[in-house]
């Protein structure tokens, strides 16, 4: 993985960009490069992470303004080429607003900003983002969001279920998400969006390592 570089996108208001970079570089020895949102040159990165935070202050709707950045415009070709894109929390919101993933993330049912560790069932390993080949089908990851309630119409939900696009479901739904959805992939499997933060679960010293597998899978071809 010496030559493999993961681009970590920085929007005004991103606040998990350094955490993602720390987890990839420090825990997994994967090189990273920060990509300013105004850049549209993705030629020297092999995968991309849209990190958590509050891009553009969450104005209008979470992710709604970030969608129009030059970098997100350039993402279409990157995704079509089959390269991998991981959207975490605000990154997931940006991926839905920009149409790379279906549905939308809106205010938590109880209106609380929820910071907690949650148990998640791995539903599908499409794209190889999660390890459900051995007995470990439940993982624990931290969440930290005010607007993580996944919503979609019934046709979209049926499509998600039928095509095995639901990656993760909450064991105890904290935010009112439809069908307990915590993370989904696109049909090809190379784009994953999830509300939990794998980069905050990459070292026993900070409470767990269940996030390592997902970050490591960025280097899959």
């Amino acid at each position: 993985m010496d030559n493999f570089v993961v681009g970590v996108v920085v929007f005004p208001g991103s606040n998990c960009d350094r955490d993602v970079s720390w987890a990839l570089e420090g825990c997994l020895d994967i090189r990273t490069k920060y990509l300013w949102h105004e850049s549209s040159d993705l030629s020297d990165v092999d995968a991309i992470v849209l990190p958590g935070g509050f891009s553009y202050g969450d104005y209008l709707r979470c992710g709604a303004i970030a969608r129009f950045s030059p970098l997100i415009n350039a993402l279409d070709e990157f995704v079509t080429s089959g390269k991998r894109v991981l959207g975490i929390c605000n990154g997931f919101q940006i991926l839905t607003e920009s149409g790379f993933l279906p549905g939308v993330l809106t205010a938590n049912k109880n209106l609380n900003f929820i910071c907690d560790d949650v148990e998640l069932d791995i539903v599908s390993s499409k794209g190889g983002w999660f390890n459900n080949e051995d007995e470990k089908k439940t993982i624990k990851l931290p969440i930290a969001h005010g607007e993580g309630r996944y919503h979609c119409d019934s046709d979209t939900l049926k499509k998600l279920v039928d095509n095995e696009l639901i990656a993760l479901r909450y064991k105890n739904n904290p935010n009112g998400s439809a069908f307990d959805i915590a993370g989904i992939t696109n049909e090809k499997g190379n784009v994953l969006g999830l509300m939990p933060h794998p980069e905050r679960a990459c070292d026993e010293a900070i409470g767990g390592t269940d996030g390592l597998f997902t970050l490591k899978s960025l280097i899959l071809k």
């Binding site: 709604a64 129009f68 939308v104 809106t106 209106l111 119409d153």
Partner: protein, 84 residues
């Protein structure tokens, strides 16, 4: 070029839960207001815009509403338009 003042209203679709509206309804009842059956919160966006006539301006506003102001998965929009 004509100038128009546009008021765009963005509302959560009736089928979508509005937790902020529910919380405000609860506070309204605590304030002592009686008879509130439903309370839902939306957004109002005011735009001043130039264009060659109302039709052209409507096209621009439709695009803005559909692509930016509202997420039509969960929100509906409508607008009023006044020539200045």
């Amino acid at each position: 070029m004509d100038q128009f003042a546009v008021k765009v209203f963005v509302r959560l679709r009736p089928s979508v839960l509005d937790p902020a509206g529910e919380a405000t309804k609860s506070a309204s009842i605590k304030l002592g207001a009686e008879g509130i059956k439903s309370l839902r919160i939306g957004k109002m966006i005011e735009v001043k815009i130039e264009g060659n006539g109302e039709n052209e301006v409507r096209e621009k506003i439709d695009l803005l509403c559909d692509r930016l102001f509202a997420n039509t998965i969960i929100e509906d929009y409508e607008y009023s338009l006044e020539k200045l």
